[in-house]
């Protein structure tokens, strides 16, 4: 699997990260390109150990879920997806295309910013107001307004934060699983299944990669049944492969 350097830490939300991964590779936004950057995306959010607000973590994980769906579909072309899932994929593509336009606009504005500013008069024109007026300033009103302002000054507040749980990257998981399958020859998915939902998806994808790469063969008796993996070349009789 090709290695890509991912810049860490400066992304403003999942769309920003995803878009830059796609643009780094000079790809168009579509299902294929999204599938191809899934691993980098996961690597990035798993290596991100800095504290980010709770709401943002959820955003990163939601986008991860859609990406994993796309990735599963590219590995298993026969995988049926529900209309909602298809909708989620379409929505992610649309959001990325739209965000790409916004970034284009932002770049244009940045280039234009402050280069040829329009100017207003530096000083307002002097119009003599004929009658002397004390401008309604009274010391008491002035002090009152400041007392009120001072009591309203915000105190320091803390944002609700959560640490992004480091996720296991696909490459790492493949290595780990390859090792385990090879050492135990035969393995049930239920034996290695993680308790973390996202990690299970990564594990599953890693196993699919291993199957695709010819390292292991997989067998499942019926849908939703446990999956049995074994090393290719193990001398047990196999059927239907």
């Amino acid at each position: 699997m090709p290695e890509f350097m991912v810049r860490v830490g400066t992304f403003d939300g999942p769309l920003d990260l995803l878009l830059s991964l796609i643009e780094e590779r000079k790809l168009y936004i579509n299902e294929i390109s999204l599938g191809s950057v899934t691993d980098s995306y996961l690597t990035h959010i798993s290596s991100q150990e800095q504290v980010v607000p709770l709401g943002e973590t959820a955003q990163f994980v939601l986008v991860a879920a859609t990406l994993l769906l796309i990735k599963s579909r590219s590995l298993l072309p026969t995988l049926e997806i529900s209309p909602e899932e298809a909708g989620a994929i379409k929505e992610l593509e649309d959001r990325l295309r739209r965000y790409q336009l916004v970034k284009q606009g932002a770049r244009l504005l940045e280039r234009q910013w402050g280069t040829k500013p329009l100017r207003l008069p530096a000083r307002a024109r002097i119009v003599r107001i004929p009658v002397f007026t004390p401008y309604g300033i009274q010391l008491q009103a002035l002090v009152d307004s400041l007392r009120a302002l001072v009591t309203l000054l915000p105190t320091e507040s803390f944002r609700e934060t959560a640490t992004v749980t480091p996720l296991v990257s696909l490459e790492e998981m493949i290595d780990r699983l390859k090792h385990r399958v090879l050492s135990s020859v035969r393995l049930r998915f239920s034996e290695i299944k993680s308790s973390e939902r996202i990690e299970v998806i990564v594990q599953f994808l890693a196993l699919l990669e291993l199957v695709k790469g010819g390292f292991v063969v997989a067998e499942q008796q019926m849908p939703f049944d446990d999956i049995l993996f074994e090393t290719e070349g193990v001398s047990t009789p196999r059927y239907g492969v």
């Binding site: 955003q59 986008v63 989620a88 649309d94 932002a106 910013w113 040829k116 329009l118 100017r119």
Partner: protein, 188 residues
Amino acid sequence: MTELMNQSELSKHIEALLFATGEPVQLARLAEILSVRIEEVQASLSLLSSHLNQGIILVHNGTQVSLATPPDTAETVAKLLGDPEDREVGQAGLEVLAILLYQGPTSRSTIDYIRGVNSTSSIKTLLLRGLIERVPESGGREMVYRPTIELMYHLGTQEPEQLPDFTVLRDKLAAFSNRQESVTPTSL
């Protein structure tokens, strides 16, 4: 006096008013002072815009209007007055501005949805700097943000329509916003 003003007279008085205050004025305020309808103010502004000499231009954002110096004199003016205070806007702020300029007035939830991230603090900073304002959506109950005239000064443009690639980007973005209205945003 004002009751008998023709359009040319109106345009003259508007020019004098804008010149004398030296800052943006609401169209409604001009109409009030001159005792005419907003439509007449608008017509007189078009007239004024076409009659202005080259060293002063009319800047407007739909509800406010002001006079200012044209972009190609910026360098000369800076020689006399120095460069204006012009702090940079960060990437997040520029994205919010791009949405408001190229797509039009937008609610905070839509801005968040488009950027995929919470934009509260960027919006707050832009409001503080007077680059955007918060107004009720026309004909709706929702609050939306939109560019101020102050923003036009920094960008050196008389109106958003004169920004680079304006129509191309606006039309492409419009295609998405029409589609989005019919979809419930599931992920934000």
